[in-house]
């Protein structure tokens, strides 16, 4: 009969239990460390969008030209330019504008003819950056100072703009303006809540991204008293889509393929 040789057995039961116990504790600690490591840490939570922010899959705007008059449009322009510290340069060659007025033949070239209603022929249209779905300005920007946000807004980062004006050349709507000089002194009453722009940067309408972040619709829409609708194009229940289902809407220069997202009812 074979007997267990005490010298060949390197581990007894007590030693074995001790090692397994300690290993289990070490393993658990390590596992917990991993959980800590992978859990959303402080860094991610430090910056968050505001809770009241308006979000959408695709922002778009609808302008009802039957409801808007040149006078009410001018009121919208004044409000927009005041809250965004847009200088009134005066000289049309150097002017900076976020929203402005344009005759039908210039806003919708090719669609005009001699026998249009007088209202459309006479009245000037309310135009701004179209926040195109296929933005040529973004494609040409060499510094990514202008880019398309997830919700479709064409944003402008003045911190990165080098003033090459490629975007201005690329935009078929003339929606962008260049600060040829320091125009800050031309701003009559400055809005202390919004920055101004320095010499050498391009600027344009930003669909009031700073207001959307605080849960407010664009200033021009608010000021237009129902003549303009702002909403989510991807939400079939939005007011914008409800109107667009019933009414025929047109866009500026759609044949250029930029897919503008400001719609007009004439």
């Amino acid at each position: 009969m074979k007997t267990v040789d005490e010298k060949t057995v390197t581990m007894n039961r007590r030693k074995f239990l001790e090692i397994t116990g300690v290993s289990t504790i070490v393993g658990l600690l390590g596992g917990w460390g991993l959980v800590e490591l992978l859990a959303p840490g402080e860094l991610e939570a430090t910056y968050l969008p505001k809770k009241e922010a308006l979000v959408a899959k695709r922002w778009a705007m609808l302008i009802d030209m039957k409801k808007i008059t040149e006078q009410s449009a001018k009121k919208c322009i004044t409000v927009c330019h005041r809250i965004h510290n847009v200088p009134d340069v005066g000289d049309p060659k150097r002017e900076i504008k976020w929203i402005w007025l344009e005759h039908f033949a210039n806003a919708f070239p090719g669609d005009e003819h001699e026998h249009m209603p007088e209202r459309i022929e006479e009245e000037r249209f309310f135009v701004m950056c179209n926040h195109c779905d296929n933005p040529p300005c973004v494609r040409v920007c060499p510094t990514k100072a202008t880019w398309q946000r997830g919700d479709g807004i064409i944003m402008m980062d003045q911190h990165r703009c080098i003033g090459c004006r490629y975007c201005m050349a690329a935009c078929p709507f003339g929606a962008r303006g260049f600060n040829w000089g320091d125009y800050r002194f031309l701003i009559k009453d400055r809005n202390p809540e919004y920055p101004t722009r320095e010499k050498g940067v391009v600027e344009k309408c930003n669909f009031c991204a700073e207001r959307l972040a605080k849960g407010r619709i664009p200033a021009c829409v608010e000021e237009s008293e129902g003549a303009m609708v702002f909403g989510d194009l991807m939400d079939s229940q939005s007011e914008l889509r409800k109107i667009m289902r019933e009414q025929y809407t047109i866009r500026r220069k759609p044949y250029l393929g930029t897919n503008p997202q400001v719609y007009y009812m004439v």
């Binding site: 910056y47 969008p49 202390p192 809540e193 920055p195 101004t196 320095e198 972040a213």
Partner: protein, 157 residues
């Protein structure tokens, strides 16, 4: 010394124009050296004993004074803000403009709107005595103010 070199030196000595160890026109040379030393030392002499005043950024704006002692904290501890406020401001800029994140949780857990103009300058409304105090001392000219407005002095305009 090789023989050839010795010969050359000797021939030069013979001409009478080469005198080893002699300074030519010592008056002009010494006067020139003295003038140079004085000119070079002038800025140091001028500023001797006049150490530039240590910057003292003022924290006594009405907005800060009306806060209670417990509320009187910045988004990060004082030392961290002193050393790295420019890094934080760049981070804030990118988060707002690029990511659309406009809410920042400070180290005390308090929530802040991410904005130089509307949050920083709300309390630190004394641009010249606060920001500029150290920037002058360290000869920094940050470009922030080329666009952003300094409250409230410019506000009044």
């Amino acid at each position: 010394m090789p023989e050839e070199k010795k010969e050359i030196i000797n021939s030069l000595k013979d001409t009478g124009f080469y005198k080893p160890g002699k300074i030519y026109d010592p008056g002009y040379i010494i006067a020139g050296i003295v003038i140079f030393i004085i000119l070079a030392a002038l800025p140091f002499l001028y500023n001797a004993g006049k150490a530039a005043k240590m910057p003292e950024p003022k924290l006594d704006t009405p907005e800060i004074l009306q806060l209670s002692e417990a509320e009187r904290v910045c988004v990060l501890p004082k030392q961290e803000m002193r050393e790295n406020h420019m890094v934080l401001l760049n981070e804030w800029r990118d988060q707002v403009v690029r990511e659309g994140n406009r809410e920042y949780t400070g180290y005390t857990g308090k929530k802040y709107t991410v904005s130089l103009q509307n949050t920083c300058m709300e309390c630190h409304s004394n641009y010249d005595e606060f920001c500029n105090e150290c920037h002058r001392y360290t000869v920094q000219t940050p470009v922030c103010w080329n666009c952003h407005l300094q409250k409230p002095k410019e506000w009044a305009r």
